[in-house]
Symmetry: C2
Subunit: 760 residues, 2 copies
């Protein structure tokens, strides 16, 4: 960089509307998967197992196969596919064993979508039923039916346990020891866009999959492995995505199925779930049974904490049970506790399988820990905020799990949210409608999360003769707004008008540089930093080349406001585009730079310890609720949410993420629960399964503390998941504050609250 | 580059089928402009001037404007558009003056294509007729009607003249001086795809133009200038293109019109010419009146040459009259002549305007010069081949115009084509069907042509985790096959299977690095070299990074057959994709390189001299014809074509280009002529205007001499135009050989040949 030049961050911290993808989406012009039609396209439908556990004796679809409109039928007998999943336990087409009611047995491709759906109902399956197991505790018992016989037991062989210090001894020496048990159910993802995929072969017989994935580069590798194709024969294309919240992190059986059918028929094959199918046959958020034990000394300081979780993985292992990793981080990192132990048991059952959802275990465990913290404070007769402040850390801190927190602001966010909510002076009401306030904090990665050996993302940036900048990023935009953030970052680095920046972030993944995956709130941090660095290189190149063009030293050149400025020269002549054209036409220069940013972090070691992220966020939320003591109905009136996420790139977008998370978490707190009966989802569709709407949305006050992360672009960390993490705990604690009843099980439905009040 | 590593050129010289775009095109899946449909799209139609020269007194379309299906009507009164063209003499919508019968006066956008076409017929125009001028010689006379009054005369103010040595004196001293005059008419481009464009606004109100342009980056600059938008607000998208042959080199009025209508209506607006419109209202190939004067010494050596051309530009100046530049090169460079003079006069008339077509003036002037050469030989009583061999140069040669020809092989190609055709021992026939052979040579740029200050092209190359390589090029593929060539070049540099290379060469031009334009046979040379260099950088990076990964020196590493090879290591582990994955996951490396190649050439100076190309091609053709002396019908039996175009990347593709050019030129030689009556094309459509079909296609024998260009990728030069250049001359000379009649005017229709025979 030339000595005279500084990057000012022109748009950083500005409330920039969603200009990159907003107009297309709000105008209805954006094409989602459901809108994509290809000539000669076939429609796939899947015949699924009618029973939760059993063996396929006979499948017969001979009559269907002979129908004109049916172009191909496949089942697990004929196809030689690899298995899906981290443990490779999920065959895309099941044979001979089925392990859950949505298991894919037969798939057909038809010229007619309705007929496809009808014919799969007519597939004749003769099943031998096996005794099923639905309760994870039952599944652990000796003699329980085995979901995967070859596994030897129903215990998923993954180790998420963490131990640091000596919990046993510390508890023994504690002034107070308390143990509480909590339960969080499965919930549905229910985004706007249902699951689906479209596969077709190009004329070189290479496979293209149009997928809502949030990890196109991993999907490409996985899908090619499962199909037995070399990776260069598989292309992933991402349309506009109608929300993912984490469920775009794994390969789906239907993605393999449409690919297989396209390979067989040589025609495009599409499958988009109906809302019913999406509710019944999608992986769910990971539920959990969570036991929290803590020891406290005489002064109210935490001495030890043990968290034990039981996770029902369902019939297969996807990313759901990996929620344990995040649960461990919060167990060890949310407050300063020297002795910690985290023990997770994940089990197979004949329920639907699970996948990670926004927060990835953190909302579940934070509900448990922060409810438990309130009960500890009460026993200690301390103010709940003071108890937290006492146990919070600030500044440099290394968690017992080895996570290095720089610039921790946990005390700051707790104090500030208390001030905002007037915690100390809050009023109480008597009568039918009682009001209360609850507080909860959070600890979450904000600087990527090294789950794979690389946690990096690539970016390429070029500036053209019109002074327009094109940014190529591997990042997936599934609604979170990172594409906008990247445009802002690049426009800031190059100091040019926002509308001069175009971000290439979707469609053909091969056209963009590699990204690990968009998860763990990492897109703006990792991909943003990659874009920052590529743009910085471009800025440096511009300055050096311009200096050479004008026969000045680089220190006399700077970029500002879309212009190239030279000390002592009129700016009129120095529009960026003009200078690029001169460099181009007079010097034969093409201004094109790229960068691959991989944060300086480490993978967790065998003890599940390590500094997996280049930044950790803290936040504190206070929820104010009103409880109708007559009906048990809880109304969340207001939420205060104060965050340390480093420097905020776009407060409008960051606030949107926080508010969105709060409202989504409010649904989980108050009413959302996927009800399973014999392994089958019974509350299907938005009639039976409520999600929060505008009427339930509380007023939300969001604040960000001044902060800066050393690695993030312009000092930023990620924030996509943080809003949702503490909200259930804050609401639960507020209910206790209002009516004195403690709810150990989510959701806090009116009837549950009423029963608790009456019991009390 | 590591010392041990060499680039072998695995696929260079191999007959590689058209695998990049061939399958999409031959299967009918390729989407051409006519296939593109957008939601809410409107159709534009243009009301054109009914008279060749006049003033618009009144335009009335009030009634039309009020119709439901009509969404916008525009004319030249209201729109403040810049003018099109090199001389900015072509208003996209004309007012008040019209200068040719196709002049655009009013344009409407309608929801219905048929109605749009109907309504423009109903636009009421009151015109004041001005005296027109159609004959360029008349246009030069004092008192001729002025097409552009502000120009002061009808002479186009562009200087293409070249002078070197002293022609006057050399002619005076010559043993023999001869002067001949030739005439080449206008012909139609008539590619498969008719002209058209589709404009739409994205939601940021930026304009996207889907265009068949062959210069997307220049078009973007021009169109934004004409519309008064900054360049970042204009995007050019290229669909599959159904042939251009040079006519994609300028902005079209209809491109501005659909853009204007899209800006007005905020809806997509499409206009695709019918075949009739394409014949009537497209610019034509440049016709020419050409006078050649040569002096020869006693030994048969050329002493001087003067070529004077008269070019009818039509109503406006596009690239047609620039054909003079290429005519000058051939005048000065085809044979060794020390004293040369080229004088071009271009004039405005009220005819359709002209644009450069394949060869860009060279087919026209080569017809004249090579016919004239035969007549000189005859007067000298020399064999026509010997006369040419005597005047040909070989090895290093600098033309009097300053073009540096390295490795000239003009004598070689002449000798070789003579051998191939058995020139010395050819048989003659008597009777009704007479056979004859004609020979003609060519001189043409093969290493780009510096028309703009840069003649460069950019390329970016990346390799992904699957070992697949993606190449981004600014090049335009309009049928010539360069995209395939680039894939071959990159696969050769990286030594990996062809199917591992994907070339991004179409769609959004902003996604690809800048290119000057695809013209002057430069795509494989310039863009190919850019791709070569980017791939070479990638190869070097791969080798250095791999060496570091395996703790060996770079000289121990090489890339071969899609594998990374290390001395003494098993190759099994070293699949390219695997190594990339290891570099990626273990070292955080992203393998991405780019290059901007601008040939080391110079722009022509004020005297129109300079070394504008980094390579010059020579070729010689012999046509064998049979003339029916009863009907005058000429049948081309066989063509022998021997080329020096450096190293041939793909003989299949190069042969295809040569054969295609020969067949296209055969049409021009024997029957194609656009007939104008009062400035209006009267032979419209393939019924009235014949183009050659398979039945007319002769046997063609193509050979390439061993050669290498120092700058071209793997030593290659361009070849797209060369087949067409000498064919008319070769056929004309063969007719003379067969029946002893000399045809000075193209085409050599049966009736013209018969008249000539009878006259004789």
């Amino acid at each position: 960089m030339s000595s005279g030049d500084t990057i000012r961050g022109r748009y950083i911290g500005e409330k920039i509307p969603r200009f990159v993808d907003g107009p297309e989406k709000t105008s209805g012009r954006a094409k989602y998967l459901i809108d994509v039609e290809l000539p000669g396209m076939l429609y796939a439908a899947i015949a699924r197992s009618p029973i939760p556990h059993g063996k396929i004796r006979r499948i017969d679809y001979e009559k269907i196969q002979r129908l004109d409109s049916v172009k191909a039928v496949v089942d697990g007998r004929e196809s030689k596919l690899g298995n899906i999943g981290i443990l490779r336990d999920n065959p895309p087409l099941k044979f001979p064993k089925v392990r859950s009611v949505c298991d894919e047995v037969v798939a057909i491709a038809s010229t007619d979508e309705d007929k496809a759906k009808k014919y799969v109902q007519e597939v004749d399956m003769e099943m031998e039923e096996l005794p099923p197991v639905f309760d994870p505790k039952e599944a652990l018992k000796p003699g329980a039916p085995l979901v995967h016989e070859e596994n030897g037991s129903n215990i998923v062989k993954l180790n998420f346990n963490v131990r640091a210090g000596n919990v046993e001894e510390a508890l023994r020496k504690s002034h107070l020891v308390r143990k509480d048990a909590f339960s969080v159910p499965r919930v549905a993802f229910a985004p706007m866009g249902t699951l689906g995929a479209l596969a077709f072969l190009d004329e070189r017989n290479n496979l293209t999959l149009i997928s809502n994935t949030q990890e196109p580069y991993q999907l490409k590798a996985e899908l090619s492995k499962i199909l037995g194709l070399t990776m260069d024969r598989v292309k992933i294309v991402q349309p506009y995505i109608g929300g993912n919240f984490g469920r775009g992190m794994d390969v789906y059986p239907f993605e393999v199925i449409v690919s297989l059918l396209a390979l067989k028929t040589k025609r495009p094959v599409k499958l988009v779930y109906s809302r019913t199918e999406d509710f019944m046959c999608s992986p769910t958020r990971q539920g959990a049974e969570i036991e929290v034990t803590s020891g406290v000394d005489r002064n109210g300081r935490l001495t030890a904490r043990r968290v034990e979780v039981l996770l029902d993985s369902g019939a297969y292992v996807s990313w759901g049970v990996f929620d344990a990793r995040v649960m461990a981080s919060t167990t060890t990192g949310l407050y300063a506790v020297p002795n910690v132990e985290f023990v997770a048991t994940a089990v197979y059952t004949n329920n639907p399988y699970t996948i990670n959802m926004r927060g990835a275990g953190n909302p579940q465990v934070t509900f448990a820990i922060e409810s438990h913290m309130d009960m500890l404070a009460e026993e200690l007769e301390m103010d709940r905020l003071d108890f937290r402040l006492l146990n919070a850390y600030e500044g440099q801190y290394v968690t017992p799990q080895g996570m290095r927190v720089d610039n921790a602001r946990l005390r700051t966010v707790l104090s500030r949210v208390g001030e905002l909510a007037r915690w100390r002076t809050r009023e109480r009401r008597s009568g039918r409608f009682r009001r209360g306030m609850g507080i909860a904090a959070l600890f979450h990665v904000g600087g990527g999360a090294r789950v794979y050996r690389t946690d990096g993302c690539g970016a390429a940036v070029k500036v053209d003769d019109g002074g327009k900048v094109t940014v190529f990023t591997g990042m997936t935009e599934m609604g979170q707004g990172s594409a906008n953030g990247i445009a802002q970052i690049v426009a800031s680095v190059l100091d040019l008008p926002l509308e001069k920046v175009e971000v290439i972030y979707k469609d053909d993944a091969d056209m963009r540089p590699w990204d690990t995956a968009t998860h763990a709130s990492r897109a703006t941090f990792v991909c943003g930093r990659a874009a920052f660095e590529a743009a910085k290189r471009l800025r440096e190149r511009m300055i050096v080349e311009t200096a050479s063009l004008f026969n000045v030293t680089p220190s006399e050149v700077t970029l500002s406001g879309g212009k190239v400025e030279i000390v002592g020269k009129s700016t009129e002549e120095l529009d960026l585009g003009k200078v690029v054209r001169r460099l181009h036409f007079q010097r034969g220069r093409l201004l094109y730079e790229y960068f691959y940013y991989d944060p300086p972090t480490e993978m967790a070691n065998e003890e599940n310890k390590g500094n997996i992220s280049a930044g950790y966020a803290q936040a504190a939320q206070i929820a104010e609720v009103e409880v109708d003591t007559l009906t048990g109905e809880v109304k969340v009136l207001k939420v205060f949410s104060v965050h340390n996420v480093g420097r905020v790139i776009n407060p409008l977008a960051a606030e949107g993420q926080v508010i969105g998370g709060i409202v989504q978490g409010l649904g989980h707190a108050l009413f959302e629960e996927l009800e399973l009966k014999e392994g089958r989802v019974i509350n299907v569709g938005f009639g039976d399964y409520e999600v929060p709407s505008a009427t339930e949305a509380p007023d939300v006050v969001v604040e960000f503390v001044d902060s800066e992360n050393a690695e993030g672009p312009f000092g930023a960390m990620g924030i996509a998941e943080n809003g949702i993490i503490p909200i259930a705990a804050a609401i639960g604690n507020a209910i206790y504050d209002a009516v004195g009843v403690r709810l150990y099980k989510m959701p806090f439905r009116a009837e549950d609250v009423l029963v608790a009040i009456e019991k009390k």
